[in-house]
C-alpha cells in the first residue's frame, strides 16, 4: 500500500510538468508585486506593498513531458505491464523529464524610496526544485535485463537528476532611469537545506562475445552523486528534530550561496514595451553535511577463470572472492565528503508588449475603462495589452525554451486578467489564465495553467497553480 501511495505521489508530484519554473502568467503582470521577482526591472507604481506572510505567494508546478497519470492508471482494461512497457520503458526517451518546482513566500515587501524613481523590494521564500531525466537504459536493464542483448550498450549517462530545497533571502532595487527605461537588480543569499545532483555521468554496461569464456560483461563508469544536507536530515530524523533542523539549515545554518537577478523595461513609445530579465545568476557552495559517492573505473569479466597449471600453485585460492575483489578494485565505489559548488538554474525572460486602448496623460481622457485612481501618471495603464514572451532555463541536458503569446485585459481598477498560450517542446496546447483582484488595499491573485487539461486532469502532462495575497498602497508619492 505504501509503495502504491509513494508511486502515485512521485508520478503526480514529479510527474505533472516539465517546464518547471516558467511563470509566463506572472511575468510582467504589473498589477502583482510578485512579478518583481521575475523581472526586477518591471514597471512599478506601488508606494509600498506587503505580502501576507506565507500567503503572499504560493506556486506549484509539476509535470512530465513523457508520461501522465492517465497513461498508466486509466481504467481502460489494458494490461498494466503492457502499458508500462509501451509508455514508459519503450515510450519515453532519455531526454524526457520529470520535474517539479514549489515556491512559498515567507515574507515579501516593498517600498518606494524618497526618490520616487526608486522602488525597493525584499523578502524570503522557500523553494524546492527537482528534475530527473528518464534513465531509459537503466529502465530497460531493470525491466528486461541484458540477456540476448549482445553488443548492446546500456548508457550509464542516462542517470541525470538533481534537486534542491533552499530558502532565498533577497533585496531588490528598481529604478526608473528616464521616461523610457527602467532598470532593476536583485541580490540574493541562498541558504541550502538539502541538495543532490548526479548530472555528469558517463559510461556503459555491455555484454559481448568473450575471449575465453562464452560471454564477456564490461562495465565502464565515471559516475558521481553529490549530496549535502541529506545526512543531516537523516540524523535529525533519528533524533526526532527534523523541523528544527530544516529551519536551522534554511536560515543560514546550511550551505550558503550568492545570486543576482537583472532586469529592464524599455518603452519604445507609450504603447510598445520591451522587457527582459536574467534570474538566478548564482551559485551555492556546499561544504556542510556533504556526502558524495563515486563509481569510477573499468572492468571486464568472463566469470571465474581456472587455468592450469597456474591454478595448481594455490589450491586454496578463493576464486569467487578474488573476482569480486578484482572488480571492486577496478571500479571502486567510494564515498567522500569533498566540498562542491552548484550553479542555480539560470532563467531568462523577455517580452514584447503592445498596449492599446487610447490613453493620455490624463486617465479621465482615456477611452479605456481603466483608471488607476490614486496612482501617478508617469505609468499609463492601457485597457488591453497583447504580446509575446520568451523563456529559457538552463537545464542539465542544455537550455530549454518556451514561447508564449498573451493577452492582458484590465477591468476598471479592480481586476486585471491575463491569458496565455504557450508552446514548448512538451505541448502545443497550454492555455493559461491569471486574474488579479483588487479590493481596496487587498490584492488577490490566482493563476492556473494548462487549462485544457482540466477536461481530464489525470491525462495532463503538466499542472501549475499560483496564488497570493498582498496589501498594496498607491498613495501619492
Amino acid at each position: 500500500m505504501m509503495v502504491r501511495q509513494l508511486l502515485f505521489v512521485i508520478i503526480l508530484w514529479l510527474g505533472l510538468l516539465a517546464r518547471a519554473q516558467n511563470k509566463q502568467l506572472m511575468y510582467d503582470f504589473t498589477e502583482i508585486p510578485q512579478a518583481l521577482l521575475l523581472n526586477p526591472g518591471m514597471e512599478t507604481d506601488f508606494k509600498w506593498y506587503s505580502g501576507i506572510p506565507t500567503l503572499s505567494g504560493l506556486s506549484i508546478q509539476a509535470g512530465s513531458n513523457g508520461l501522465s497519470v492517465n497513461d498508466l492508471f486509466a481504467n481502460d482494461g489494458l494490461d498494466f505491464n503492457d502499458k508500462v512497457r509501451d509508455k514508459v520503458i519503450q515510450g519515453m526517451s532519455y531526454r524526457d523529464e520529470f520535474s517539479s518546482t514549489l515556491q512559498l513566500e515567507i515574507l515579501n515587501g516593498g517600498y518606494r524610496s524618497k526618490d520616487p524613481s526608486v522602488f525597493y523590494s525584499f523578502g524570503v521564500y522557500a523553494e524546492s526544485d527537482v528534475i530527473m531525466y528518464w534513465p531509459k537504459d537503466y529502465g530497460i536493464l531493470a525491466f528486461e535485463g541484458n540477456a540476448d542483448k549482445l553488443n548492446e550498450r546500456f548508457d550509464l549517462g542516462h542517470l541525470n537528476a538533481r534537486g534542491e530545497v533552499l530558502s532565498v533571502f533577497h533585496f531588490g532595487m528598481n529604478k526608473r532611469m528616464d521616461n523610457n527605461l527602467i532598470l532593476g537588480a536583485r541580490g540574493k543569499i541562498y541558504s541550502s537545506i538539502l541538495d543532490f545532483n548526479s548530472t555528469n555521468n558517463t559510461g556503459y554496461f555491455e555484454t559481448t562475445d568473450g575471449q575465453n569464456n562464452i560471454l564477456s560483461n564490461t562495465l565502464r563508469a565515471d559516475m558521481q552523486l553529490r549530496t549535502s544536507g541529506i545526512n543531516a536530515i537523516e540524523t535529525a530524523e533519528d533524533d526526532g528534530n527534523v523541523p528544527a533542523t530544516i529551519v536551522k539549515r534554511g536560515f543560514f545554518g546550511g550551505n550558503l550561496g550568492l545570486g543576482l537577478d537583472l532586469g529592464f523595461t524599455y518603452h519604445f513609445n507609450r504603447q510598445m514595451v520591451l522587457t527582459g530579465s536574467l534570474l538566478d545568476l548564482g551559485f551555492i557552495y556546499h561544504a556542510n553535511a556533504v556526502e558524495n559517492f563515486t563509481l569510477d573505473g573499468s572492468a571486464t569479466t568472463e566469470g571465474i577463470e581456472i587455468i592450469l597449471p597456474d591454478a595448481l600453485l594455490n589450491p586454496t585460492q578463493d576464486f569467487w572472492e578474488d573476482l569480486v575483489d578484482e572488480i571492486e578494485a577496478l571500479v571502486p565505489f567510494e564515498e567522500t565528503t569533498k566540498s562542491y559548488m552548484t550553479f542555480r538554474p539560470t532563467r531568462l525572460y523577455a517580452s514584447l508588449r503592445y498596449n492599446f486602448g487610447e490613453s493620455t496623460e490624463n486617465p479621465k481622457a482615456c477611452d479605456c475603462d481603466y483608471s488607476p485612481s490614486g496612482r501617478t501618471n508617469n505609468i499609463l495603464k492601457y485597457r488591453n495589452s497583447v504580446g509575446g514572451q520568451l523563456y529559457v532555463i538552463k537545464r542539465p541536458r542544455g537550455p530549454q525554451g518556451a514561447i508564449t503569446a498573451f493577452y492582458q485585459r484590465r477591468f476598471g481598477n479592480f481586476m486585471a486578467t491575463k491569458a496565455t498560450y504557450t508552446v514548448d517542446k512538451f505541448t502545443f496546447t497550454n492555455v493559461g489564465l491569471g486574474i488579479s483582484l483588487q479590493a481596496g488595499p487587498i490584492n488577490l491573485y490566482l493563476m492556473a495553467d494548462n487549462l485544457l487539461a482540466y477536461r481530464n486532469i489525470a491525462a495532463s502532462n503538466y499542472a501549475s497553480f499560483q496564488f497570493g495575497l498582498n496589501i498594496i498602497s498607491w498613495e501619492k508619492k
Binding site: 509503495v3 502504491r4 508511486l7 502515485f8 501576507i52 500567503l55 497519470v69 492517465n70 498508466l72 492508471f73 486509466a74 481504467n75 494490461d79 498494466f80 505491464n81 508500462v84 536493464l141 531493470a142 525491466f143 528486461e144 535485463g145 541484458n146 540477456a147 540476448d148 555484454t207 568473450g210 575465453n212 569464456n213 562464452i214 560471454l215 564477456s216 560483461n217 569479466t301 568472463e302 566469470g303 571465474i304 577463470e305 581456472i306 587455468i307 592450469l308 597449471p309 591454478a311 595448481l312 589450491p315 585460492q317 578463493d318 576464486f319 569467487w320 572472492e321 488577490l444 490566482l446 492556473a448 482540466y454 477536461r455 481530464n456 486532469i457 489525470a458 491525462a459 496564488f467 495575497l469
Partner: protein, 181 residues
C-alpha cells in the same frame, strides 16, 4: 484572515469541481511484474595437454571453491528460473570426464553434472541445463554456495595431439530470470 482562507479554499474547490478526471485505477500497480533476465559467464576452465602429460600417475584434478554468486540474497531470494549452458572443447589426444558438483554452505552436494568427451580431432559438447518450473529444482541454484570441479583423464599421460595448442576447455554461462517486483 479566516475569510481569506475560506475564499482560497472555495476557489481551489471550485477549480477542482470544474475539472474532470477519467476513472483511474491505482490498484493496477499490484499487477506490475518486473522479471528481467540477466546473463553472464560463470566458469572457465582450461587445461593444456602438456600439463596433463606433466602430471604422470595422477589422472584426476579436483578443485572445490567458494561460489557465492548464487547465494547473494539479492539473487537467491528473487531468482525464478534459469539455464546453465556448458561448452566443452577437447583437442587433446585423451578422452576426458569433467564433473561439476554444486555444493551448499555445509558442503553437501546439491546437484552433479557429468560430461564425457572424446579425444581429438575436435570434440565439442554443448549442453543446456534448465532450472525452475521446466527443469531441475531452482532451489539447487538458490542454495549453491560452492562448486567442486573435477577433471579425469581417461587416457594416458604420454600421447600428444596432432592439433596445435591442444587443450581441453570448459566454458559456461548462466541466464537467470529474477523477480524485481
Amino acid at each position: 484572515m479566516k475569510k481569506i482562507r475560506t475564499y482560497f479554499w472555495f476557489v481551489c474547490s471550485l477549480l477542482l469541481m470544474l475539472s474532470c478526471m477519467e476513472e483511474q485505477d491505482f490498484d493496477q500497480y499490484d499487477d506490475l511484474s518486473i522479471t528481467p533476465t540477466f546473463e553472464a559467464s560463470i566458469l572457465f576452465l582450461e587445461v593444456p595437454e602438456r600439463t596433463i602429460n606433466l602430471i604422470s600417475g595422477l589422472n584426476t584434478y579436483s578443485q572445490s571453491f567458494n561460489f557465492d554468486a548464487f547465494a547473494e540474497d539479492i539473487f537467491s531470494e528473487r531468482v525464478l528460473e534459469g539455464v546453465l549452458t556448458y561448452q566443452i572443447e577437447n583437442t587433446t589426444s585423451k578422452p576426458l570426464e569433467i564433473i561439476i558438483e554444486f555444493l551448499d554452505e555445509a558442503g553437501v552436494v546439491l546437484d552433479t553434472e557429468m560430461f564425457q568427451i572424446d579425444p581429438e580431432p575436435i570434440a565439442i559438447l554443448h549442453r543446456e541445463i534448465a532450472y525452475g518450473p521446466t527443469g531441475k529444482s531452482i532451489d539447487i541454484i538458490r542454495n549453491t554456495s560452492g562448486i567442486t570441479l573435477t577433471a579425469i583423464n581417461l587416457g594416458d599421460n604420454t600421447s600428444t595431439s596432432s592439433q596445435p595448442n591442444a587443450l581441453i576447455s570448459l566454458k559456461s554461462t548462466g541466464k537467470f530470470t529474477v523477480r524485481l517486483k
